[in-house]
Structure formats: structure tokens, C-alpha cells
Symmetry: C2
Subunit: 162 residues, 2 copies
DNA sequence: GTAATTGCAAATTCTTTGCACATAT
DNA sequence: ATATGTGCAAAGAATTTGCAATTAC
């Protein structure tokens, strides 16, 4: 966990589990133990988890699910809108609970891997204007700022981020 | 090719070939036909090429190189500073000739795949300020704006971008 | 001549798919 | 009951690596 405040309101694991249960019911999809467990892990976490990390969290909590199921459920979670997919250029994807934030950017520490989030309205407006100037209809954008966090610069960090 | 003006100065295939030859010599690395051919393709192109596309360009020009050699040479080109690696979240990397631009952003058409480049000083300053506010030492940043280009919106496009 | 590169194929990493078996409704 | 999900293992896609044959210097 980073020490900075998160953007938006975080949801509890319970809310994640129940929210996904409702969504599955609405869509006439079977509610299985694996699906609820995966939803609880991803939505209950404040981090950006990879598929593998989701599987690890599961087994460390007594639950377990095959790799295929993890991927298939993450796909459902993204389609439900409860989870958002992220690509930090690491060669694999990460998944993050969708909070009540329309959009936010990421600061990535290249030393410890810590991810910090922020929102900036100016950036929102700026990308729209830039797109228009190039005759593009802006759909969305993605900004990742890479750098070194304070803890790593000062050698203060005691616990590894990931 | 997009119709908008490119950022910075483009280099010719010849310049790419010779520039890489010099770099190889300076680093006591063998100058091979494959290396020069790959440099010519990547640096001579105004596009963002994938490793596979580089291999295709090669064979269509009579040259040829194994996949491993293409990847190994792209790695050298990146390390030489003559080529820059890009990640547009497609699941694979693209490589672009490094021009005299310190940094530029990308507009990506989600319909035809066209990539347009632009530079924005405000963004440069903004990311530095944002990083500082979060106690990060900014190293670099990456902004990709996704949208639909004018040609695709109007159905005007006649030639596929990729 | 000797050290480095090349190309092929096998190995890796992340992700998807096919299929027999298990489970939700 | 019956459609759907699950897990395993095989398949895929992009990229890397081991190694014998080849080439640069």
C-alpha cells in the first residue's frame, strides 16, 4: 500500500462479493464459489493485481481457482463494470476495483513498483482539446508517469510493495 | 501515413544504416548485413513497426533475418538511442526511429490504428508538478489518447493504415 | 584464427481454448 | 434435468534462449 490517499471511495470485500452476485443474477449467470471469491479478492483490494496475484491471494485465503477460471472471471468482472483493466507496460495486465472515479492517472515507482493514483481535471480537458486539434474524436486516454517514490529515494521503505 | 505533420525531423534509410554502423564500430560490435538492413527498415520508416512488421519489410526488400536476430538487433538499436520502443497496449511492442524530439505523445485511432504524434510543453510541465506533489522524482511519462480519427469518422479512408 | 553473430528450434511468459467432469438453478 | 462453469492440459502469441554452423575482423 502506498501512503497517499486513494482516489475515490474504496469498497469492502463484502460489497464486491455482493455486487458481483447481483450482477450475475441479473445476467442469468451461475453464482459460483470461485466467482465470488475472485470478486472479493479483486474488489476488496486497494491494489492493482495481476491474474497471478489474484490466484495467490485466493490460495492464501483457503479458496482456490484454476488459472483459466481466474482469467474468465476477471473478464466477467471487467464486463460488469466492477473492475477495470490496466496496462502498465509490464507485459501483463493488472486489475483494479472500479471505484466511483470517472478516470484517473497513475504514478509508477520504477524501483519498488508502487502505484499511486491521482486525478486531474486539467489533463482531462487538455486531452480533449489536443484530440480535437488533430481531428480526433477523443474516446479515452491513459497517462502513466514513471519515477522514483520518496521512500525509495530516501531508502526508507521497509516493506516491499509487490 | 497520417496526413498530419510529423514531430521532429525524419531521417533517411541511409542515415539510419550509417548511423548504426558508426555506433556498432564505436562499441566494437560486428557490422553484419542483417543489422544494417534492420536499421535501415526501422530508422527509414516513419511508422511505428512491430518486430513482425520489420521482418516482413525485410523479406519484401530481398533481405531476410531470423526472428531472434530481429529482436536482438532491435534491442541494440534501442540501446544505441537510434530507435525508441513504444507500448500502445496492443500486447506487443512497436519500434520507432528516434528523431530529435525529447519526448512526444501519441494519438491512436481505435478504428484504423493510425498513430499521430504531438508534443505539448504544458503536459511536460504538468507531469513534473504532479509527480512532485506526490513526492515522486519524475523520470518520464507516457500519454496515449485513444479516439477515432477524422477519416474513419467520415468513412473517407481509402487505404488501410496497417 | 578467434570471438561474436546467426538461425533454427526449444523454452518462457501471459493468456486463451477444448473437453470431460462437476455444479448451479 | 440441463445448461453452464471448472480444472487440467494443450494451444497460442510474443519474445527469449541454447547451440551448432557461419561470418566479421
Amino acid at each position: 500500500m502506498t501512503s497517499a490517499p486513494m482516489v475515490g471511495t474504496s469498497r469492502t470485500a463484502q460489497q464486491g462479493r455482493e455486487g458481483f452476485r447481483s450482477w450475475l443474477r441479473e445476467h442469468n449467470l451461475p453464482v459460483t464459489a470461485q466467482r465470488l471469491a475472485i470478486a472479493e479478492v479483486v474488489i476488496g483490494s486497494a491494489q492493482h493485481l495481476s491474474a497471478e496475484e489474484v490466484a495467490q491471494h485466493l490460495s492464501s485465503h483457503g479458496d482456490k481457482a484454476g488459472t483459466a477460471t481466474v482469467y474468465r472471471t476477471l473478464d466477467l468482472l471487467v464486463r460488469s463494470g466492477l473492475v477495470v483493466e490496466r496496462d502498465f507496460g509490464e507485459g501483463f495486465r493488472r486489475f483494479e476495483a472500479a471505484r466511483d472515479v470517472p478516470h484517473h492517472e497513475h504514478l509508477l515507482c520504477t524501483v519498488c513498483g508502487a502505484v499511486e493514483e491521482f486525478r486531474d481535471e486539467r489533463l482531462e480537458r487538455m486531452t480533449t482539446i489536443i484530440a480535437e486539434a488533430h481531428d480526433f474524436a477523443r474516446h479515452r486516454h491513459r497517462l502513466v508517469i514513471q519515477g522514483v517514490c520518496g521512500a525509495c529515494r530516501r531508502g526508507t521503505r521497509t516493506t516491499p510493495e509487490r
